[in-house]
Amino acid sequence: MSQPVATRRPAAVRYERIALVDLLDRLLAGGVVISGEVRLSIADVDLVHISLRALISSVSTALEHGSEHS
């Protein structure tokens, strides 16, 4: 999509082939979150929910548009 630097390089081609939904499955729900005195209160669960809701509505809208022609 919009990753001009990465797409120039063959090594990055496989990143583009990863389905976004599989990636977000992991990046929004996996990985380490350390909440401590030094972390800004940004990566909180509420925010993850917001983003997933947005994702679902964005993607479903896009799909509805696409399927009108099929």
Binding site: A12, I18, L20, V32, E37, A54, L63
Partner: protein
Amino acid sequence: MADATAVWAYCVADRMAPEWFSHLAGVGEYPVSVVTGGPLAAAVSVVGLAEYGEQALARHLEDLTWLESTARSHHAVVEAVGAHVPVIPMRLATLYRDRDSLGAMLEARQQDFAEALGRVTARTEWGVKVYAVRPEPAATAAGEDHDADRPGAAYLRRRRSQLDASQHAQRAALAGAEEIHASLGQLAVAAGTRAPQAPQLSGQSDPMILNAVYLVEDGESAAFAEAVQRVASLHEPVRVELTGPWPPYSFAFVAEAAPAARQ
């Protein structure tokens, strides 16, 4: 305040060399650099709070284009590090005030990270998605026109038979998915499941009935991939997709610290 920055953390490892990711642009095209703390190193980008502060981030996360670009950039750095050393990925949008505070966290939590790194060393995450394949409706629908004078009855009989076939296939698919998860789990050192992806997100019309993750010894990866092929062919009304190798996003746990002094 206009120049306020925060430190976006991609991942943590025992060591890092800048040349591993010097060819990559980080999130928002910010350059990627290294922060060390104790025996650990983290890949980071110093980002502008105007774009990555709490409110800006909440707004951006509603923007699918921004989210995709950011997620792929984050993942590219994690993969670049993971190509050289065992890596603990940080969740998307984990930000620290500055490099020093991240370094202090790494030093304070070095034991937890060492344990997490030990769990994922020489192991790889794989994803397996199983879809229930809808039965073909055509088999019973064709060639039954002897009720042509009673089209309603014929329709109802056809419809019932389709529903029976569909429910039967659904039950068989669910049972198959359970068996698949159990048998693949035996080849893994750890396994887990995520919520199945909605059809709007998976882009597949067939319903997803298993969205599983497995942590597999590197030496077993080929055997694991073969097992996925094998179980897929054993269970007829399902379709199986293997994804990976992944950095250990689903198996990178670091225990939460006790809620100690907050600033």
